[in-house]
C-alpha cells in the first residue's frame, strides 16, 4: 500500500470538510483511479472530480500519471469569479 497526503484547496475544503488528510491507496493507482476512489469514498466530492486540478508534489498531473510513494497530492477547483 501507499500512504499519501491529500491537500484540499478553496471550495474543495468545504466539500471535503478538511484542509488535508492522510490516505492509504493501492500501489500503482493512477490519478484517475484516485479521483474515482475519492468520488466513491466522499460523496460530497464526487461531482467535483470531473473538473479539478490535481498536482503530485506541486506539479500538475494528468489522469494517467501513477501516484508515487508517499506523494503529496493537492486538489484545486476551478473558480470563475472576476
Amino acid at each position: 500500500m501507499n500512504n499519501i497526503k491529500l491537500l484540499f484547496f478553496a471550495t474543495l475544503r468545504d466539500r471535503a470538510g478538511t484542509k488535508s488528510m492522510d490516505l492509504e491507496i493501492p500501489e500503482d493507482l493512477t490519478i484517475q483511479g484516485l479521483k474515482d476512489k475519492l468520488a466513491r469514498d466522499f460523496p460530497n466530492l464526487a461531482q467535483s472530480m470531473s473538473s479539478v486540478i490535481v498536482t503530485i508534489n506541486r506539479e500538475y498531473a494528468f489522469d494517467e500519471a501513477v501516484v508515487p510513494p508517499s506523494a503529496e497530492i493537492a486538489l484545486f477547483p476551478p473558480v470563475s469569479g472576476g
Binding site: 484547496f9 478553496a10 471550495t11 468545504d14 461531482q47 467535483s48 470531473s50 473538473s51 486540478i53 498536482t55 506541486r58 506539479e59 500538475y60 494528468f62 493537492a74 484545486f76 477547483p77 476551478p78 473558480v79 470563475s80 469569479g81 472576476g82
Partner: protein, 384 residues
C-alpha cells in the same frame, strides 16, 4: 520605431525611467503597446487603472454591463456617481482622468464568438477578467488562435488564481481544464460572495504580468499557476504542463475555430441575478404573495446559507442550504405543494432540478428570489 516621449511624459513616468528594467526604451515600448481588458469588474478595475497609470498606449475595455451599487465594494474604477452608467464609459473616464496621454477604446458589447476575434486581433496582450466559464474558455481560445498571451485571473471568496497562458510557449487554460465543471457546481461571486480586496490583489498581479510581457522583463507565469488564499495568506505555485490531448493547442487539436461556449459550459456567459427555473416552474413574487394570503400554510423552502437569514427572511420558511439538500430530502413531503427560494433565484432553480429528479412534482421556484420579494412585495426587507 518606438514613439518619443514628451517632456511632460518623461516627468510623469520618472519613477519608471529610473528602473533599469524599464528605462526610457521600456517606457516607449509601453506607449507603443496595447492591452485588451476583458471584463471591467473586480479584476478589470485594478488592471485598467494600473495599466493606464503605467502608460500603456492603447487599452481596450470590453463589457456590456452598467455599474450597480453591489459593484462598489470591490470595483474601484467605478464610483457612486457612475452607478447606472455603462461600465466601459465609467472606467474610461476614470482612466483618462488618471492619464490623458493614453487611448482607451471601449466595446460596449458582450464578448462572444461573433465579435471576439475582431475585437482582440489588434492587441498585444489579452487580460481575462471575466466572471464566468463560457467567456473564460472563449478568451482562452481567442488567445490561442491569435497567438497572443492571455493573462488569466479568477477569484472566489478568499481564493484567487493567476497564470499566463501563452500556447506558443506553454499550456493554455484548456490544458488545465479540458472540461468545464458541471453547471452549478462552482458558485459565482453573485451567489457566493467575494472579499472586496481580493480582486485588487489578483488584478494587480495580472497587471504586473501584462507589464512584464510588454517590457520583455522577468519571468512571466507561463507554465505556472499561482494559487492565493487570503485567509492563510498563502501563495502556492503549481508547475503546469502542456496537455498532449489539448483540443485547441495540442498536436492533435480538433477545435480550430470558436465554438458556442454557453452550450459547451451549459451556463450563460454572464454572472447575473434573477435566476429562473423556466416559465413552467417559476412563480413571481406578487403571485406567491397572493397564494400565501389564500393558504398561509403553503410550504416555503429557503435554500440559502444560514448566515444569509440574518439579512432577510420569510416567516415559516424551512432553511436547508442547497449543499445539504440532497442528503436531507427525507425532511420534505413530496406530496405537498412547495415554493423554493434563495437570494435571487439561481440556487433555488438548481434545488428545483434536484427535487424534480428526486420525484417531487408540486414544486415552484420564486423567480428573482427573496430580493424580488423585497422589491415587489415587502419593501421593508433589504435587497442584497
Amino acid at each position: 520605431m518606438l514613439p518619443e516621449l514628451s517632456h511632460e511624459e518623461i516627468l510623469r513616468y520618472s519613477r519608471h525611467l529610473l528602473i533599469p528594467e524599464v528605462g526610457l526604451d521600456g517606457q516607449r515600448k509601453l506607449k507603443n503597446s496595447s492591452v485588451l481588458v476583458i471584463g471591467t469588474g473586480g479584476l478589470g478595475s485594478p488592471v485598467a487603472l494600473y495599466l493606464a497609470a503605467a502608460g500603456v498606449g492603447r487599452i481596450g475595455l470590453v463589457d456590456y454591463d452598467v455599474v450597480d451599487a453591489t459593484n462598489l465594494q470591490r470595483q474601484v474604477i467605478h464610483g457612486a456617481s457612475t452607478v447606472g452608467q455603462l461600465k466601459v464609459e465609467s472606467a474610461r473616464a476614470k482612466m483618462l482622468d488618471l492619464n490623458a496621454d493614453i487611448q482607451v477604446d471601449v466595446y460596449n458589447e458582450p464578448f462572444t464568438s461573433e465579435n471576439a476575434m475582431r475585437i482582440a486581433r489588434d492587441y498585444d496582450v489579452l487580460i481575462d477578467g471575466t466572471d464566468n466559464f463560457p467567456t473564460r474558455y472563449l478568451s482562452n481560445d481567442v488567445a490561442v488562435f491569435l497567438g497572443k498571451p492571455n493573462v488569466y485571473g479568477s477569484i472566489f471568496r478568499f481564493d484567487g488564481q493567476v497564470s499566463v497562458f501563452d500556447a506558443r510557449r506553454g499550456p493554455c487554460y484548456r490544458c488545465l481544464f479540458p472540461e468545464p465543471p458541471p453547471p452549478g457546481l462552482v458558485p459565482t461571486c453573485a451567489e457566493g460572495g467575494v472579499l472586496g480586496v481580493l480582486p485588487g490583489t489578483i488584478g494587480t498581479l495580472q497587471a504586473t504580468e501584462a507589464l512584464k510581457l510588454l517590457l520583455g522583463v522577468g519571468d512571466p507565469l507561463i507554465g505556472k499557476l499561482l494559487l492565493y488564499n487570503a485567509l492563510d495568506m498563502s501563495f502556492d505555485f503549481v508547475t503546469l504542463k502542456k496537455n498532449p490531448k489539448c483540443r485547441v493547442c495540442g498536436p492533435n487539436a480538433d477545435i480550430h475555430e470558436l465554438i458556442d461556449y454557453e452550450e459547451f459550459c451549459g451556463v450563460p456567459g454572464h454572472d447575473h441575478e434573477d435566476g429562473s427555473a423556466g416559465a413552467d416552474w417559476d412563480i413571481e413574487a406578487p403571485k406567491l404573495a397572493a397564494a400565501l394570503s389564500l393558504d398561509p400554510s403553503l410550504f416555503l423552502l429557503d435554500v440559502r446559507e444560514p448566515h444569509e437569514l440574518q439579512i432577510s427572511a420569510l416567516p415559516r420558511a424551512l432553511n436547508i442550504p442547497l449543499g445539504q439538500l440532497a442528503s436531507r430530502l427525507s425532511e420534505l413531503d413530496s406530496a405537498r405543494e412547495m415554493v423554493v427560494f434563495c437570494k435571487a433565484g439561481t440556487r433555488s432553480a438548481r434545488a428545483l432540478e434536484l427535487l424534480v429528479s428526486a420525484g417531487f412534482k408540486k414544486v415552484k421556484n420564486l423567480k428573482g428570489g427573496i430580493n424580488a420579494w423585497a422589491r415587489d412585495v415587502d419593501p421593508t426587507l433589504p435587497i442584497y
